[in-house]
Amino acid sequence: MDKINFRFLFIISAILGVFLILYGEWQDTHMEVRYTDVDYLVFSDAAALMASGKSPYERSTYRYSPLIAALLLPNSFLHHMWGKFLFSASDLLVGLLIHTILKLRGVPEKLCTSSLMVWLFNPFTFTIGTRGNCEPIVCAVILWIILCLMNDQLVQAAFWYGLVHLRIYPIIYALPITLVLHPLHFQSGKKPALVDWSSRKLMSLNGSSKLRFTVLQFIRNFLTSIFTWRGLVFGFVSGSIFFILTGLCFYFYGWDFLDEALLYHLTRTDPRHNFSIYFYHIYLHYEQEFSSLEKLISFLPQFIVQLALIFRFAYDLPFCFFVQTLTFVAFNKVITAQYFVWFFCLLPLILPWSNMKLT
């Protein structure tokens, strides 16, 4: 009964995805407003340029890694919907990973299914993949990293973390992962002491828990955890993968790649996407250049919040990732609609622990 439930959800989700992709084709040809995202056309054009041997950065507004254009190469010779099917498949993969992680943490079946539906049947998330946005792939990688850390596969997790080359934002997870890898919490051969479902009831009875530390111990743990063997291995492997990928792309595409794919995102202050709280401020001051002091001040709230959340919640890794991503997006100078998917994929991981009635 339990297995059928999950498989049933999966199949319905897959059918919905296929239906939406086909519907998208119809809407593109028959209506004024297109279903397909502009970004998908940018990816396809860049992939077509890459297929004919030129640089994908000749396509203006292509601001991603060449790897994404490489993933969409079959768009040119197979079918132009290949990319959408790939992204929808990663959407389903994210669902599968969420289910695996929840089962690993011992969450009861019904709660697991309800939490899974928050991702699979959320109209925001299933349209992102079918419209041709590449976010589900990044989400799948992040969840896979969490799963690897839970299964004590350190090098594997580090390898996939190196794919921060695709999107810069997972760099905010570096510190909590390093803290979690401290031997106190991550004994080799055993699974890390993430909050398990069964220990949830015990926590309220037992006043003191493993997770409670004084400030001094926090600082000591932090300093020692950076230099543990496991932390160093993680840093080394992920750093090498990142630099190898970046170096390879730089070798092929030069400064165009660095400017568009990496540096643009770090210094981006465009006033055209108006979800951010800083939007109108940037728009009104666009004619003048921003002073370094202004840039620092706008960066400060984000930085302080990230540090506070890491130090308080690092040992409950999924929850830490979720609040970090949410606050990172909320305080960012630029927010586009696809950024919301970054924390939507982590929401099902923490929903079972909320006090809301879900079943």
Partner: protein, 335 residues
């Protein structure tokens, strides 16, 4: 508070003594150290997937880099002749109306047809041109309806084989055309050819952008020697987008001037064989009285101080609230 004892990394846990049947390297090492190597060997095997992925991507990159196709000089030359405006931008850096008028009058590639000297061609004449800005919001369409008289006065004049109407829209810096959208229209057959030249950036506001030019080619596509049609009617819709305007009060006005119309015809006959362009002048005075104006909303400069203060205040207050909540959050509950 109980702190669990540290388990040294080299101690085996009972679950790891039996070798994993999926790990081929594991049978070799059975000692205490062996268990540790066994785990790392398993990780190496997990790595195989990543290795294959990396090799795959590497191969793709190699293939792509070796496939580079050089553009021939001939193509560039043809491109320069195909689009009239391209030649203008080879000579000048930016679009200035007076320079462009002079260029159109004197320096068009393929040349203006020698109408006065030879009297051998028919002369197309512009009868009427009506222009309008359709739509609302930041994305509108510039619609032009053009009527051209095709038949010559006397039958002795040489009829053209095929003609192409060239419309050159000189856009102000407050608006732009998306080249990719226009290419899409070419694929759907709405235009024969389109080129956007000048400052084609899609994102910068108008005070950081320069002007651009859109050149549209429309094939008339009929053989005029059988000469049935007297008049050509063209209805054109050019999708345009507004750039962010400089700060001001309320709305800023973006003015669209008149396009330059050319007709490029190819002739075949005993007397003359080749192509040349006719300049279609609009003698209608109407357009000067009511130019097309697009009102683009702009931000109000006086608000800047208040907006900045409120923005930074709310950012700092919410940041402090979050920090306070996380510090004082009870340790017994998760959330």
């Amino acid at each position: 508070m109980m702190v669990p004892p540290k388990t040294p990394i080299w101690m085996i846990s009972p679950a790891m003594t039996s070798p994993n049947p999926h790990c081929s390297l594991c049978y070799i090492l059975q000692s205490k150290q062996g268990a540790r190597f066994q785990r790392y060997a398993m990780e190496v095997q997990h790595f195989q997937v990543q290795l294959y992925l990396a090799i795959g991507f590497g191969l793709i990159f190699l293939v792509m880099s070796s496939n580079a196709m050089p553009t021939t000089h001939e193509e560039q030359k043809c491109f320069g002749e195909k689009y009239v405006t391209k030649t203008y931008f080879k000579i000048h850096d930016s679009l200035i109306d007076s320079q462009f008028e002079e260029f159109i009058a004197n320096k068009i590639p393929l040349g203006l047809c020698d109408v006065h000297q030879d009297e051998r061609y028919f002369v197309p004449r512009l009868l009427a041109m009506h222009r309008n800005l359709i739509g609302v919001g930041s994305h509108r369409q510039l619609s032009s309806s053009i009527r051209i008289k095709m038949q010559g006065e006397s039958k002795s004049k040489l009829p053209a084989q095929s003609c192409q109407v060239i419309i050159i829209e000189k856009l102000p810096s407050g608006g732009f055309a998306d080249p990719f959208e226009l290419q899409h229209l070419v694929h759907r057959g709405v235009f024969t050819d389109v080129a956007v030249l000048g400052d084609t950036n899609l994102e910068l506001p108008s005070f950081r952008s320069n002007r651009s030019v859109v050149e549209i080619h429309l094939d008339m596509g009929y053989n005029m020697s059988s000469g049935v049609k007297d008049e050509l009617k063209i209805n054109l819709r050019l999708p345009l987008h507004a750039r962010y305007a400089p700060l001001g009060h309320g709305f800023s006005k973006v003015e669209f001037g008149q396009p330059d119309l050319l007709m490029r015809c190819s002739f075949e006959g005993k007397a003359f064989d080749g192509s040349c362009s006719f300049m279609l002048k609009n003698d209608d005075v109407d357009y000067k009285a009511s130019p097309i104006i697009w009102e683009v909303p702009c931000g109000i400069k006086e608000h800047a101080g208040v907006v900045s203060a409120v923005t930074f205040l709310s950012a700092i207050v919410s940041a402090l609230l979050i920090v306070k909540t996380s510090i004082y959050h009870s340790h017994n509950t998760i959330f």
